[in-house]
Symmetry: C2
Subunit: 250 residues, 2 copies
């Protein structure tokens, strides 16, 4: 039953071992145009991309991104997906109004969701050409240098990035295990007790086995992987968002 697109989606792995070979202009153009075709909330088109190929700029982006994420320097293309309420503000003003939407949590949420839609489409389009791709969420954890480096104006924010390029692949594809489908898909109503201690233990063991298989003895079980959620908050996200005009008071 699966078609070519389903096979592509169901074989998704994040790939980081970029060869560094450049991506052809027409391929990159096709990938970007596919992303622009995605829907946006209320057809607001509140997304812009900054396509970075310059090695010096990628080096600087690497330096300000926690991780470390050396793939930013290794991949020939880094694309920043920015929420962009600058363009809508220009259009609102042209129509005689003044934009306040970006000052609400709803506006921020619209932008973040649209950025996610865009990211997934960039990734799927790149992978359809046989390229590898990996998302870089950490690009927003120290946003001010990114804003300065890429010249982002007020009412925009660097939400997420993606590295794209040709990659070295292991001989055998290994899919990273997910939590059981029963904890992800709920039919008709959410089942609060879907994630039991037994399921959690079994998944921890499954993930550890995966790490061993792919030669990553430093890999940790999922309950350990999410421990930083007990403290991590990355306050710069909110501080710099406010500075860019996303006051989110309502």
């Amino acid at each position: 039953m699966p078609n070519e697109t389903i096979r592509l989606l169901q074989s998704h792995v994040s790939e980081r071992d970029f060869t560094g070979e450049p991506v052809a202009d027409e391929v990159l153009d096709t990938i970007v145009r596919a992303a622009q075709r995605t829907p946006t909330h209320r057809h607001g088109q509140q997304i812009s991309l900054v396509v970075v190929r310059d090695a010096h700029t990628r080096q600087r982006l690497y330096e300000v991104t926690a991780g470390p994420q050396p793939q930013i320097t290794k991949a020939p293309v880094f694309i920043l997906v920015a929420v962009d309420f600058h363009k809508t503000a220009v259009a609102v003003k042209a129509g005689g109004g003044e934009q306040h939407f970006h000052e609400s949590l709803e506006g921020w949420t619209v932008g973040a969701v649209d950025a996610g839609i865009t990211l997934a489409t960039l990734s799927t389009a790149a992978r359809s050409f046989g390229l590898g791709a990996v998302a870089i969420g950490a690009i927003r954890h120290d946003p001010q240098p990114v804003i300065d480096l890429l010249g982002l104006p007020p009412r925009t924010f660097p939400i997420v990035g993606i590295c794209i390029g040709k990659v070295n692949r292991p001989a055998q594809l290994r899919l990273k295990p997910r939590l059981p489908l029963s904890t992800y898909r709920h039919d008709e109503r959410y089942r609060v007790d879907a994630l039991t201690p037994d399921i959690l233990s079994a998944y921890d063991a499954e993930l550890l086995a995966y790490w061993r298989e792919v030669g990553r003895p430093d890999g940790v079980p999922w309950t350990q992987r999410v421990q930083p959620y007990s403290t991590s908050i990355h306050p710069e996200t909110k501080i710099i968002a406010e500075r860019q005009g996303f006051t989110l008071a309502e």
Copy 2:
């Protein structure tokens, strides 16, 4: 050069004229599994779906969603994409900690971006089977009844929904025009002056021509379409998010 997946992505239109025919279980299962394979920030898997097929529940969802959005009752399948920090909280607790990540804007942003990635993948997967799909962002504008109806626990939130099903299609595909690529794709640095008054006027005219072509004389130019951004904020998004535990103080 384009492959099957690129053709699918570049022909994207939001479709609402659902026939009501049911979606086969194995097709729906394949679509959901494709979505679960998408990456999540830090492999946190902070997303859950609620698959709604029950006609009464879809009727209720329709009643609490602004629009109006009759496609929620017409499409045989509605899938809610929820940000879900309940599962991570269970895992953090199992590891001896207590989760605070969901109380930060960074946590909320992670969830919204991951929800967008999930939505795009659900849409692409459904469309690869020839089905139609349309996103429903307005599902979060009056979130409390949605939370109650679908039984969403604390630390979860209904971010966005999608209607999926067989659709009636016009004889000729018409792609809704986007702003010029020069305002969407920036190379190396954002160009603040990319969206000029001339470009805006030309795009308004292009969009009006599109509305006429598709027989929608009520369609408006873009500068008019975004006018609600001068006031619209949907305060319930923030109020109910806080009630669900997303305090976002930092």
